[in-house]
């Protein structure tokens, strides 16, 4: 049996097929039991993917709601709190222990280039490599320059914002990384989850341990691909 066309199934479920295409698919479902079995399996996969990320989206809305309430409370307590925060952060920066650095190195891995990912020994000419490939190849300065111009032209590009944050982190520029990763982690986007994970690592790298713990705790308290890692890193911090 030829490979199941999941894109056709996706179009069917999203009402993107023409009347004729839809009729043809439904006829095949009735007449071909093997096709029907594959249809049901792949439908379960797509339904499960949708359910998983719907849950995640709802969690993001809840977290945003909670942050909004907290923000209003903090505004009332701003003067005293900010003075205390400066003192705590300064203390943490002075006291970033070797063990926190080791934990960072243990858990930090460069993120995959999921935007375009040719084989590393690709024949694509060097001058034609995208900024995402530059990140992938460790050419962080070039990636940062290129992604900044991409973001300037297209301020809504989640990919550019996320990989710019990653590039700054990889280039040992955590303050700049924090800006982009923090922004992206609060978006409702495909990259918000990994952005939050790398934001936690960035705080860890900067010695902002309490902020790192807060981020990892948020990740650990919701379902998602980074929950196990967040739980593991919290045990070590």
């Amino acid at each position: 049996m030829e490979e199941f066309d999941i894109e056709r199934l996706k179009d069917y479920l999203n009402n993107n097929l023409s009347k004729e295409e839809k009729a043809a698919l439904e006829k095949q479902l009735e007449s071909d039991p093997e096709f029907k079995a594959e249809f049901e399996i792949h439908k379960s996969l797509l339904d499960g993917i949708e359910y998983h990320f719907d849950k995640q989206l709802k969690q993001s809305l809840k977290v945003r709601e909670a942050k909004g309430k907290k923000r209003r409370l903090y505004q009332v307590m701003a003067a005293a709190a900010s003075f205390l925060a400066i003192a705590i952060v300064s203390y943490q920066m002075f006291n970033m222990s070797l063990s926190d650095s080791e934990i960072f190195l243990k858990y930090y891995k460069p993120y995959y280039n999921v935007v375009d990912d040719p084989q590393r020994n690709s024949s694509i000419p060097r001058g034609d490599a995208s900024f995402f490939q530059m990140y992938d190849k460790g050419e962080y300065s070039k990636a940062i320059a290129g992604l900044r111009s991409t973001l300037a032209r297209n301020p809504n590009s989640h990919e550019a914002s996320f990989y710019l944050g990653l590039s700054h982190l990889a280039a040992d520029q955590p303050d700049s990384a924090m800006v982009y990763l923090n922004m992206e982690s609060q978006q409702v986007s495909a990259f918000s989850e990994p952005a939050q994970w790398y934001l936690g690592l960035t705080y860890l790298k900067s010695g902002k341990i309490e902020m790192a713990k807060k981020v990892f705790l948020e990740i650990a308290n919701k379902s998602g691909g980074y929950r196990d890692r967040a739980e593991a890193i919290l045990e070590e911090l």
């Binding site: 999941i6 996706k10 479920l13 999203n14 009402n15 993107n16 399996i41 792949h42 379960s44 996969l45 797509l46 339904d47 499960g48 993917i49 949708e50 359910y51 998983h52 990320f53 719907d54 849950k55 989206l57 709802k58 809305l61 809840k62 945003r64 709601e65 993120y111 995959y112 999921v114 935007v115 375009d116 990912d117 040719p118 694509i124 034609d128 995208s130 995402f132 809504n156 989640h158 978006q187 409702v188 986007s189 495909a190 990259f191 990994p194 379902s223 998602g224 691909g225 929950r227 196990d228």
Partner: protein, 194 residues
């Protein structure tokens, strides 16, 4: 109706969810006030239902059930939310003249509400995704939840690389499928037919 509401539909169908928070902030207060006034629910419950309603609205847009807003977005939210609230309280609605009931009924025939959460296969895939590593986790999210298309990737990065993205996508869905079939068989052996 806000003039930008129909523009937001196209963004959502293209997988860009940044406008979700625009909708969320714009309609939350009215929805919660309406729900609390009309149904015997607490403010927290109403907020929870509003979040479910937003998710369901997105699903309807993704699946083409709502292609443009023929009525105000508030009516769509109330139509979907009403089903969810009735499910929650199993109680007859109180009379309320804030919205046109016939409009809500008309919309309610058209839209989907949240799927049955108890279905075993869906829960199984949900668990598998929690343990799926990168890059497949993000690739599946991009292509099958945010509906990124290979065409949009090709426009961004060139058609040669879009073929690479296509191959990655196929590998990832196969990996999830293999894990699903394995777990499904194990569950059947352990518990009988599910």
């Amino acid at each position: 109706m806000e003039s930008s509401d129909n523009n937001i539909i196209q963004n959502i169908r293209n997988g860009d969810y940044k406008d979700v928070v625009v909708f969320y902030d714009r309609y939350k207060k009215d929805f919660v006030s309406w729900a609390v006034r009309k149904f015997p629910v607490t403010k927290d419950d109403a907020l929870d239902i509003f979040q479910d309603t937003m998710i369901a609205l997105l699903k309807n847009i993704r699946k083409g059930k709502i292609e443009k807003f023929d009525y105000s977005v508030k009516n769509y939210l109330y139509a979907i939310g009403k089903n969810l609230l009735l499910n929650k309280v199993k109680f007859e609605k109180r009379y309320d003249n804030e919205v046109d009931e016939s409009t809500i009924e008309r919309i309610a025939q058209q839209v989907l509400v949240f799927p049955d959460k108890g279905e075993h296969n869906i829960q199984l895939v949900d668990q598998l995704l929690n343990n799926l590593g990168e890059p497949c986790y993000t690739i599946l999210k991009l292509f099958y939840y945010h509906n990124y298309s290979l065409e949009s990737i090709a426009r961004e990065i060139g058609s040669k690389r879009a073929n690479v993205a296509r191959a990655q996508k196929a590998r990832c869905i196969k990996s999830l499928k293999d894990k699903f079939l394995k777990k499904f068989s194990e569950d059947r052996l352990a518990h009988g037919n599910v």
